[in-house]
Symmetry: C2
Subunit: 388 residues, 2 copies
Amino acid sequence: VVAPSSVALSQATVREGIVEFAVGQPDPTLLPAEALGEATRRALQRFGGDAIGYGAESGPGPLIDWLIEHLGRIDARAPSTSELMTTAGNSHALDLVANVFTRAGDVALVEIPTYHLALGILRDRGLELVGVATDGDGLRPDAVRDALSRSRAAGKRVSLLYTIPTFGNPTGRTMPIERRYEIAALAAEHGFVVAEDDVYRELSFGEPAPPSIGALDEGGWVLRMGSFSKSLAPGLRLGWLSGDARRIRAVLDSGLLISGGGLNPITALAVAEFAAAGAYEPNVAHLRETYRSRRDGLIGALREALPDATFDVPAGGYFVWLRLPRGLDSRELRAAAEAAGLTYVPGPAFDASDALDPSWLRLSFARYGSDDLALGARRLGTVVAARR
Amino acid sequence: VVAPSSVALSQATVREGIVEFAVGQPDPTLLPAEALGEATRRALQRFGGDAIGYGAESGPGPLIDWLIEHLGRIDARAPSTSELMTTAGNSHALDLVANVFTRAGDVALVEIPTYHLALGILRDRGLELVGVATDGDGLRPDAVRDALSRSRAAGKRVSLLYTIPTFGNPTGRTMPIERRYEIAALAAEHGFVVAEDDVYRELSFGEPAPPSIGALDEGGWVLRMGSFSKSLAPGLRLGWLSGDARRIRAVLDSGLLISGGGLNPITALAVAEFAAAGAYEPNVAHLRETYRSRRDGLIGALREALPDATFDVPAGGYFVWLRLPRGLDSRELRAAAEAAGLTYVPGPAFDASDALDPSWLRLSFARYGSDDLALGARRLGTVVAARR
């Protein structure tokens, strides 16, 4: 019998009495733990020892087959088997892509603002990060061109663009289809890989998401990274990478895959079993419904509590990107916010180039129910009002 | 219902009619698939949604607690919680260690011969690989000193030594305790990290393995990499890394861990559950018994079929390292061997420095029962005899 542990189970610390808007992670009560445990039991019973040896590098057949069908439903084009592989989640996918398609010292272009924790993954690979301006429609192609010119003039090789074009983190914004074509064309013209972070696609609250950049790409430079972390459970450490067959082959031929085999064969077969039982779609539908209601609750409360703040209503995903009124600095306000019982991530955390107005901040509506979200919004309103 | 897949489940291809000595992977019938499936079900029922969110970076408490006790039993020193973290298997552990403690262009020292598929992981990190001579007691400290001097003279930084000192791959050899102290001291003196691959420790056929280099290390330069791939199942993609608390902290602070959380929380909790039910020790005892019997079967058959070949009797692990008689080249003999119904890995594959006598080759006895192993040995004997 193992004694109660001194070590935590979860990454996030969620304190009593504080609305942790900073935590961009799902509510544990929304994760189908028992059903996934049961699916794992069934998968390992069905496939036996073959399921738990070194797995096929591209991922186990039953999941790959289902994913191909599934991507055909949720995106404009389904990959073939040679254009698809499983990953150990999106963070690991980005690490793999950087491993294979960049060299230390290269420039990686990232959005201003972008997912802050991706920056560490790229920096660990020795990449120089250059921020690229966005607007309400996401990444600006003219700003990409400028960044390419400046980097080239400085004698730098731009080998990667990291973008979250669909219900983005932290902005919740979505890039229109025309821009997606432009980005794919720019990548082919200038010869850099696009690492398209597409993890929020299925969490749409109204219209379905536009096609991924990867689905529109004709040049073979776009690698689309998907994940079950948002649609099912982060702890699976399971996602997928799709793109040009030669690029997928290059990732499969990396030392890590050759040595260790497929990245998460057991959880991959568990998800295949879960999906084969018809449980995947209802789970996503429930998440969409729940997060839409939470978004609505948060937005309504913010409008009341912070009438002078600026924010879009996100059409999907986890986040509201909010600009404090009167040029208040989100970094300076954080201590007062925490004392008042809420947290958030200050906008500058998402900016690799120190170009962002620090009155921006990110609120997550994934972790709490609407009542707690409204409470947090009112607390933020009080903190902001006190600075009048 | 998902149609039968065109994509494989397993990494290894094992052909009918061929004894695939080349496959260094366990027999699927030895992997406790159903029990692990059942353990996963129980773990997810017990811990619920908290178990399948983003996990604690160092791994879930129940597994960490059990691992600390377990390492205290199978090694000379148990790590503390701050000296231990879970990994996504040994290949990934090596990738993480290289990520944090080396820079592209550095030299990594590797044994001649060493685990061939680790070489790709290190090369992907931009490291220059320099082979270091071994003898029957493993890595030679004088050869390490020479390599350090030569690298320094060439203006290179040596940042890593990768070694498999216990029932090594491919040799099956084990480094005596005195050398372990020497290697740890050399690392501290010259300031390079030792990545100690310790995955075969528990597969001892007689005496228990000597203490790991990590357990003897006083300087804090040794990182010991362990895995459940050999003692339980490769498909778990689960291992651990232990060492100096500041070094473990540095790995936990890498971008990948901060972004994605703990590396495999679900399979980690499944293993904790499996172990708490008392199933781990009997499983390892069964593997030891089985592999010892297979080793004995293979060794006996080799002595009869290849009386002029040279090989040690490994005291643990998966492999027999064999030198063909009369200077026969294992690379040139491979086609004839395959035609005769067996495969092996030619020795030069394990050598990053082209210094090895090509009459060496590696045979794995993990994948097949004794009858098949004996059949393969007789076939090899026939192939070799035909070259007289």
